[in-house]
């Protein structure tokens, strides 16, 4: 096979990443490329709902440190996350969010151990630390979901059919 030779200064200037994009693009010329799944409203709202419930529980623990351990809270969160994870598993090209939901579930398992094993009054600083960790995970999942939502909009340059 004859190698393709190009003297384009753009290719030399932009480096291997740009060249890789070009090569992949040329190889995949039949239809639009799909590397990751679409936005899912149920997962977006479900994760937000889990965070709201967690915030409520942790706020109560913060303001009233003698609040007893509540098994029903953890059972409820676990069930909700299990349902969301099952949904994510069934969606095409969703392994990243499946793993993220697994990590979020693992965080609640750890919080449960902490909550169950800690004497009362529960340390307020621990509530703040736990809340922060859960918030980072939720924000990470939502950031990706919203990017998937924005990615579905044809706003990228050069997407007009008449381009040459």
């Amino acid at each position: 096979m004859k190698p393709v030779k190009t003297t384009s200064p753009v290719l030399h200037k932009q480096g291997p990443l740009a060249f890789a994009v070009l090569v992949v693009a040329i190889l995949l010329t039949s239809c639009a490329v799909k590397l990751i799944g679409d936005y899912d409203d149920t997962i977006d709202k479900g994760v937000t709902d889990v965070q709201q419930r967690a915030e409520l529980y942790l706020s109560k623990l913060q303001s009233t440190p003698n609040t007893p351990y509540d098994q029903s809270f953890y059972d409820d969160i676990d069930a909700r996350l299990a349902v969301l994870k099952s949904r994510a598993v069934s969606l095409p090209k969703y392994p990243i969010i499946v793993e993220q939901l697994g990590n979020l579930r693992s965080q609640f398992d750890t919080l449960q151990k902490l909550d169950k094993s800690s004497a009362r009054p529960f340390p307020g600083v621990a509530v703040t630390d736990a809340e922060s960790a859960i918030a980072v995970s939720v924000e990470s999942i939502l950031k990706l979901e919203l990017a998937l939502k924005d990615g579905a909009k044809p706003s990228a340059p050069g997407l007009t059919k008449g381009s040459k």
Partner: protein
């Protein structure tokens, strides 16, 4: 009409690179914000143990939660990278679609 590799490549890169650069910048900003929060919490956990506010078991569990949070930040970055590459490839194809299909006389790029 003959197709010129250099011209096509320039057009494709012109469409793809702004997307890659913008998305990389957004991802960097997100990662910086989230890792700063995690770093602050890790420092805070150490200070709380030193001050006797939490014990070592509690600190260990809280650190475990931070580790999961870090994993989720990294997974989001992985997802954003995939999305950026997807958008860049599609933009690159789209920008040369008409020229390629016209030159070849059939719809190679759908």
């Amino acid at each position: 009409m003959a197709l010129d590799v250099g011209t096509l490549a320039t057009q494709m890169l012109g469409a793809a690179l702004p997307i890659l650069k913008k998305d990389a910048s957004d991802a960097e900003s997100f990662a910086k914000t989230e890792f700063t929060k995690i770093a602050q919490t890790i420092v805070s956990i150490g200070e709380q143990v030193a001050a006797g506010q939490i014990d070592q078991l509690q600190a260990s569990l809280l650190l475990d939660m931070q580790t999961s949070a870090s994993r989720n930040v990294l997974l989001t970055l992985k997802g954003l990278a995939l999305l950026a590459v997807q958008e860049a490839i599609n933009a690159a194809l789209s920008v040369v679609k008409t020229a390629v299909n016209t030159a070849l006389g059939f719809a190679l790029i759908a």
